[in-house]
Symmetry: C2
Subunit: 235 residues, 2 copies
DNA sequence: ATACACAAGATTGTCGACAATTTTATTTCA
DNA sequence: TGAAATAAAATTGTCGACAATCTTGTGTAT
């Protein structure tokens, strides 16, 4: 699960960079449990690097909001609540709504074609598989859909802000949920694509905002019906 | 020009923290020229700290988007174009629009009263001063207005994203412009406050989005009428 | 004269050791 | 027994030195 190409260089040239990617994956996959304190000497010896390099990597993780640091105390893996996840959805509603509006104006025909094929493939996989397997990539497909539109907005900073500051947190939470991508969401995606094809920015924004809001409600409902221990430790 | 209290701790306890604040101020005030490459040995000796601490401070500056780093090459002070500033305004339109919508719902009466007094004071100073002096704080007042609303949204992450990732960049650019806060913008502020008083989130969002868009257009017009050398080096 | 190859210099990345602070364990007193 | 003070251990912050990489200047060949 690498960064998307437009957000980060694929090839980590420095030790701290590689370490950052390794730790990021470990955090997202739950290998490093949420809320756990990071012991610098311990992790450094595990990964066989110096504490200096490790600290640099931790700094980068802090940028992605995957760890929080307090001076003289240390760093902890994030462990955020349902309310905080809802906050993120609210921000996504605003930012991705704007992204859709801009994409309607700035997306190239090639990008639109790619987006359409992406949605078509996704629809196919939903029809042909009885129920999503454990190796189901519908969630990645969903991320790809959103990423594609954000990229189409041609607003570079919007892209990096969403990818660097928000999407890792979304992944962080998603990893801890049962994979559930509904056909309802699928239809919402299709409506958005249609608006983009018509180059109707106003409508694209409205539909995207509705879609994110609906996704938030679906996530909230799912989360509140789960038992606390299913979610792992929160707070 | 410190961080706002809700965003960062005022008291830097560690050397790297103090250095970060010092460098941040130096960058925003143009003491360190835009686009200049940072020499780690040079800066470290100037501030009388080790390169390690300096590198940590630079990391923090990178989070605020005030410097960009490339591995094995070094860090440079940002130097962004008018187009990039416009990108930021687009993001602000979306995020602050949402902030206004949420603030209409979540702001306390005390916060609303504070906001009103803030706008009143601002209006007064606009009437009584012939034309904005060099020591004019109308720009800070404008920042305070927006900050107040963002804080009122009660969305903590929205607050930190705007303060940490965007507002420093806005300040960075503003510092290099002639102070120009129009009475038009003042009136827009008043309309927004009225909508907040009515707890009309829909309208508050619309008005805020209009205000940010108008501010963007005003800034763009002003920038394009300036000679390139007035702006300092860009690209 | 221009372009390329190479060497010298400077800069960044990495490491281990020491200092300052926090956390934990122990002792002491009410 | 419980709470506060104190000592010991562990952790984080800071520093200077070395290695790897990039940049600059020089020389050479076409």
């Amino acid at each position: 699960m690498p960064f998307h190409p437009a957000c980060h260089s694929y090839e980590p040239v420095t030790i701290a960079d590689r370490l950052f990617l390794d730790l990021r994956r470990a955090i997202l996959e739950g290998e490093l449990p949420a809320g756990k304190k990071i012991s610098e000497p311990e992790l450094a010896s595990i990964y066989g690097v110096s504490r200096g390099s490790l600290r640099e990597a931790i700094s980068k993780l802090e940028n992605c909001n995957l760890v929080t640091r307090r001076p003289n105390i240390g760093a902890r893996i994030v462990n955020f609540s349902i309310d905080q996840l809802m906050e993120i959805y609210q921000i996504r509603e605003a930012m991705e709504g704007m992204a859709a509006r801009l994409a309607a104006k700035n997306m190239t025909e090639a990008e639109l074609a790619h987006l359409k094929s992406l949605v078509a493939r996704h629809k196919d996989s939903l029809l042909h598989t009885e129920r999503p397997a454990k190796t189901d990539y519908s969630q990645d497909a969903d991320v790809d859909f959103h990423f594609c539109i954000i990229q189409g907005s041609k607003n570079q900073r919007l892209l990096t802000m969403l990818c660097q500051d928000l999407y890792d947190l979304v992944r962080f939470y998603r990893m801890r949920l049962s994979p559930a991508f509904s056909s309802t969401a699928m239809q919402e995606h299709e409506l958005i694509v249609q608006a983009l094809e018509r180059r109707d920015g106003e409508m694209a924004e409205l539909l995207m905002r509705y879609h994110v809001r609906a996704s938030r409600d679906r996530a909230k409902q799912r989360l509140e019906s789960m038992s606390p221990e299913e979610l792992g430790s929160h707070h």
